[in-house]
């Protein structure tokens, strides 16, 4: 092989590699999930892909995914919401108190999303009208305030026992007797259906409505959005309100799943939500990321935790691993950008 021929081959290999970049950009994260599933299936062939374990993963991620989806929209605007973990706790406590007060189940059901909605709106109004220098500060403040209020109204003690109609959202089972025969144990969790429906609605919202487009524009260049006549403050209030609302839905799901409201509910779950969004490929600087990516990020966190639990890996090691994955995921993104921009 002479010199020229070798160079030509190098060039061909490179173009093939470069051509694969957009493919990995779009589907790389789904590939990662498939690899994780394959590895865990090999390590735990009897358990990991069992119906029981898979539904368990979905039930676990369903309430966390609501936080991640809300935080994702906020991050797309180049903002941050640290208060979602406290919003989920406050809405859960509100729901519990409404339930204990003997309100009918359909009112109780509305309490959690309504509290989340109001908390999110409070964040949004604070960030825009009070002109806080960064959403980090406003939502750091409300992280303490909302959990404090939650403990004040509940006296800091758990409240348990909700109506069956409430429990069905987080813990309900859609039997699959039709497919698996009478008395089959296979089922689909109600919360999985709810999660899919909500993700689909927000996918439509972000990709096929004007406000969705404006949310991305604000993250890309708020000055451009303003010059285009977009009321940036109003859109930001909508985004933070929706984020709070989703955390409230998360509270409703969690109420059904645990059948109790407890002071530590959602503690540090805002960090899990941010981690899932970042692993899912969204840019921390705004304007970039997809709903599918968030779903993938949530699933990666859920599968990882579940797999490590199955293998009796200690919680401490789980923390180390999840932290490493966040850094690795972002570093791969940095490398990809370097490759994509070189000429």
């Amino acid at each position: 092989m002479d010199h020229g021929e070798k160079r030509l081959m190098d060039k061909n290999q490179e173009t093939l590699f470069v051509r694969l970049i957009p493919f990995f950009e779009r589907y790389g994260i789904l590939l990662l999930i498939l690899i994780m599933i394959a590895v865990l299936h090999l390590l735990q062939p009897d358990v990991f892909l069992s119906w029981r374990n898979v539904t368990n993963i979905f039930k676990q991620v369903s309430w966390q995914s609501m936080l991640a989806l809300g935080v994702f929209m906020v991050i797309v605007t180049a903002g941050i919401d640290l208060s979602v973990g406290s919003i989920i706790m406050l809405s859960l406590m509100g729901l519990a108190i409404a339930s204990k007060a003997g309100m009918p189940w359909y009112v109780v059901m509305l309490v959690a999303p309504a509290i989340g909605f109001l908390c999110g709106m409070f964040n949004g109004i604070g960030i825009t009208l009070l002109r806080m220098p960064h959403p980090f500060i406003m939502t750091l403040g409300t992280l303490y305030i909302f959990r404090g209020i939650g403990n004040l109204i509940s006296g800091g003690v758990p409240i348990t026992g909700f109506a069956e109609q409430i429990r069905v959202i987080g813990n309900g089972k859609i039997k699959l007797d039709v497919f698996f025969g009478e008395g089959a144990r296979e089922y689909i969790p109600t919360s999985l259906i709810l999660m899919i429906v909500i993700f689909f609605i927000f996918w439509i919202f972000l990709n096929h409505t004007r406000i969705g487009k404006w949310i991305y524009a604000i993250g890309g260049n708020p000055g451009a959005a303003r010059a285009a006549g977009i009321n940036v403050d109003r859109i930001l209030i909508v985004v933070y309100t929706l984020c709070g609302f989703l955390a409230g839905i998360g509270g409703l799901i969690l109420a059904g799943r645990t059948n109790s409201a407890y002071p530590n509910a959602g503690l540090q779950s805002e960090l899990d939500a941010i981690a899932a969004v970042i692993i899912g490929g969204a840019s921390f600087f705004g304007g970039r990321g997809t709903v599918l990516g968030v779903f993938a990020g949530v699933m990666i966190m859920g599968i990882l935790r579940n797999g490590l639990n199955l293998m009796n890996v200690s919680v401490f090691w789980q923390q180390v691993l999840i932290g490493s994955i966040i850094i690795l995921a972002v570093y791969i993104d940095v490398l990809r950008r370097q490759l994509a921009t070189r000429t």
């Binding site: 439509i204 990709n207 096929h208 409505t209 004007r210 969705g212 487009k213 404006w214 991305y216 524009a217 993250g219 890309g220 260049n221 000055g223 451009a224 959005a225 303003r226 010059a227 285009a228 006549g229 977009i230 009321n231 304007g287 970039r288």
Partner: protein
Amino acid sequence: MSDNLVLEAKSVSKFFGTITALQNVDLHLNKGEVLGVVGDNGAGKSTLMKVLSGLYKPSEGSLFFDKEKVTLNSPRDSQNLGLEMVYQDLALAGNLPIGDNIFLGREPTRKVGPFNFLDHKKRKQLTEEHLAKLKINVKSADQKVEELSGGQRQAVAIARATAFNAKIVLMDEPTAALAVKEVGKVLDLILNLKKLGVSVIVISHRMDDIFTVCDRVMALFQGTNFAESELKNTSRDEVIGWIMGKKD
């Protein structure tokens, strides 16, 4: 003053705290006229443009569109009156494709039941038609703006300003960041707009730009009207003198 008046500013002042950016500035613009606005850095040119486009509210003074007094609360208001602005910092969102930038804030939609959804097909088609009309060459209307060259970005910004049959276009340093070859294209575009009866205000430091496209030139100095002339009655040296605050 002629009957063709499309835009007028009377005694406009703008204060930022204790700083006076504009003091009793007058400006008028006729149909199909290209007005050059010159001045040193900090003379108030960009502030004046932002007042005209509704991005800033004037502290004092009034604006007239087609001889009617108006109050602009946002750029949307001036857009509705047919005024479009091409910003110096281009005001494009780099993370969005060309078509999304051109139609940002005015996206074509289609109704599905009670909901309005983005009409991606129509936006793409309108974008391609408009780019072809202006002879702007890009790989695809779906290309992200951050992947474009400086000249292409300027072209997209002008395409954005002219996509809705604007009557008045304001351009802030439209050729500042461009290669020589691209400057000519932008100037041709301005002359084309003039032929179509569009009025244009151009802010520029470059005398070549002013003396190629403008009918009239006005100079601001330290936030005030300093001098003004039909282009045929002045010279480059005189205009450069105005920028430095010298008058014979």
